[in-house]
């Protein structure tokens, strides 16, 4: 009776552990890791080129991705307008951007910068801006920061030499802007090619 019980318990434990094992194949795991590394590299290039300046020691960023400017109509229409300015933007990159931004992603694991990084949750933002005094409270909590940044998931072309990212940053009640940024890979490093301003405040 006791032996049967022990065997049954072991079987349940083994079944539980098997369910917890990551079923992603080694090839897929590598792809996920490389995509994540590519994203991190693109983010680092944009943030350090555009926002790490004038004594900025902390970057505050939303903890999840946004697809683009949510107040300017459909995303594909925005990208069509952006493509008129970003002449080198390929349709392949646009398609990848739209596909990857059809859902939200967590940003906390993909961001690695030379300055401190603070992911901001929706609840914290609400506490500061809807229940608190807004930017006054924000800068008391995060002095020497650039404001609040929003990032999309990057879209890449087939050979990963071009990337498109939406980045928006607001630093005061009337100071902010959102851009679609086209990056090109040169000497194995991402550089900002051109940016299209989607909105200004």
């Amino acid at each position: 009776m006791d032996k049967r019980f022990v065997v049954l318990l072991l079987m349940v434990l083994i079944a539980g552990c098997a369910a917890m094992i990551d079923r992603t194949s080694p090839v897929n795991r590598d792809l996920v890791r490389s995509e994540s590394e590519a994203d991190a590299s693109v983010y680092k290039s944009i943030i350090e080129a555009m926002y790490v300046k004038d004594g900025i020691k902390l970057i505050v960023v939303r903890d999840h991705t946004v697809p683009g400017n949510l107040s300017d109509g459909a995303l594909n229409e925005q990208l069509q307008r952006a493509a008129k300015e970003l002449t080198l933007l390929s349709q392949e990159t646009v398609a990848d951007f739209l596909r990857k931004n059809s859902e939200q992603h967590s940003l906390t694991s993909t961001l690695k910068l030379n300055v401190d990084l603070k992911p901001m949750s929706e609840s914290e933002s609400k506490a500061i801006f809807q229940e608190g005094k807004g930017w006054e409270d924000f800068y008391k909590k995060y002095p020497n920061s650039q404001g609040i940044m929003e990032l999309s998931k990057p879209g890449f072309n087939g050979d990963a030499t071009q990337a498109l990212v939406y980045v928006a940053n607001q630093g005061s009640w009337k100071g902010g802007a959102g851009y679609y940024v086209l990056l090109v890979k040169e000497n194995n490093a991402w550089k900002i090619g051109k940016r299209y301003t989607s909105w200004v405040s």
Partner: protein
């Protein structure tokens, strides 16, 4: 009772009795027995004895037969109880009245203090605010448009102001107030998207519907709703006009913005767009 002398005696006794009862009641009120506990009042009466007037009244008290005709002891006790109840009710009413007066005064004071510290203004009428803006700042706006779009941030001449028609209420952009700060990009008070440059005949400015009084950090003075609204409108008008002249918001920043950025009142952010230049020209700085 047929004897007239007896009748006179009886009449006299009744009058004496009446004055005696009144005197006793007056004494009790004077000594404030009604507020004492019955036992204490009884003891006080016994120990101190009646006052002179009470004593006189007692001495004038009617003999036994007359008491049967006039007010009885129970009648007196009832009147005394009534008197006590009346006094107690008066005191309670006074306390309650004082309490309510205090409460009303405190509420009125709190409301006045709140109104003084946090002025509650009615929801702004957008058309009125827009009309007031052009009425109040028409000349200043024209002068500042020449400054912002007629030359770049370094003073080099530009032809932006020359190709722009004179800005009046008649050719003012439309205002979209369908969002609050919670739903604008970055919790902004106002913004302009690329599609807004051509939305409507003269373009469209998005203004948060919940703009209210805010502190100007550089002066420490509370700005009224109208002031915050006027500053935000001027700022976003600068961005919109810049975008319309340049053909895009990207071009507006490049041509008419200040890449060094204009510091806001709380010294936390440097704004590089043409809106910041126009607001600074019209109001002496960017606030809030």
């Amino acid at each position: 009772m047929a004897c007239p002398i007896c009748a006179d005696l009886l009449l006299m006794n009744q009058q004496q009795l009446k004055s005696g009862v009144d005197a006793i009641l007056a004494c009790r009120v004077v000594l404030n027995f009604s507020l004492m506990k019955p036992a204490a009042a009884k003891e006080k009466r016994r120990s101190s004895g009646p006052s002179r007037s009470c004593d006189r009244a007692s001495r004038m008290r009617a003999p036994k037969p007359a008491r049967a005709i006039g007010p009885t002891t129970s009648y007196l006790q009832t009147r005394i109880r009534g008197s006590r109840l009346y006094e107690a009710a008066l005191i309670l009413a006074f306390i309650e009245l004082s309490r309510r007066l205090h409460q009303a005064y405190r509420q009125a004071y709190d409301k006045q203090a709140a109104d003084w510290l946090l002025p509650q203004e009615p929801a702004p009428n957008i058309d009125e605010l827009k009309k007031e803006f052009y009425k109040k700042y028409q000349k200043k706006l024209a002068r500042c448009i020449w400054q912002v779009f007629g030359q770049d941030y370094q003073g080099n001449p530009l032809n932006g102001a020359a190709i722009l028609p004179r800005q009046t209420l008649r050719n003012a952009p439309a205002i979209d107030t369908s969002r609050t700060t919670a739903s604008t990009p970055g919790n902004a008070l106002g913004f302009v998207s690329t599609s807004d440059l051509q939305r409507g005949r003269f373009g469209t400015i998005n203004m948060a519907s919940n703009i209210g009084p805010m502190m100007n950090q550089s002066t420490g003075v509370m700005m009224t709703t109208a002031e915050v609204w006027n500053r935000t409108y001027a700022h976003e008008l600068g961005n919109l006009l810049g975008g319309r002249i340049a053909g895009s918001l990207s071009g507006a920043d490049t041509l008419f913005g200040d890449p060094r950025g204009i510091e806001n009142a709380s010294r936390t952010y440097r704004d590089p767009d043409p809106g910041a230049r126009l607001e600074t020209c019209m109001f002496g700085g960017v606030a809030p």
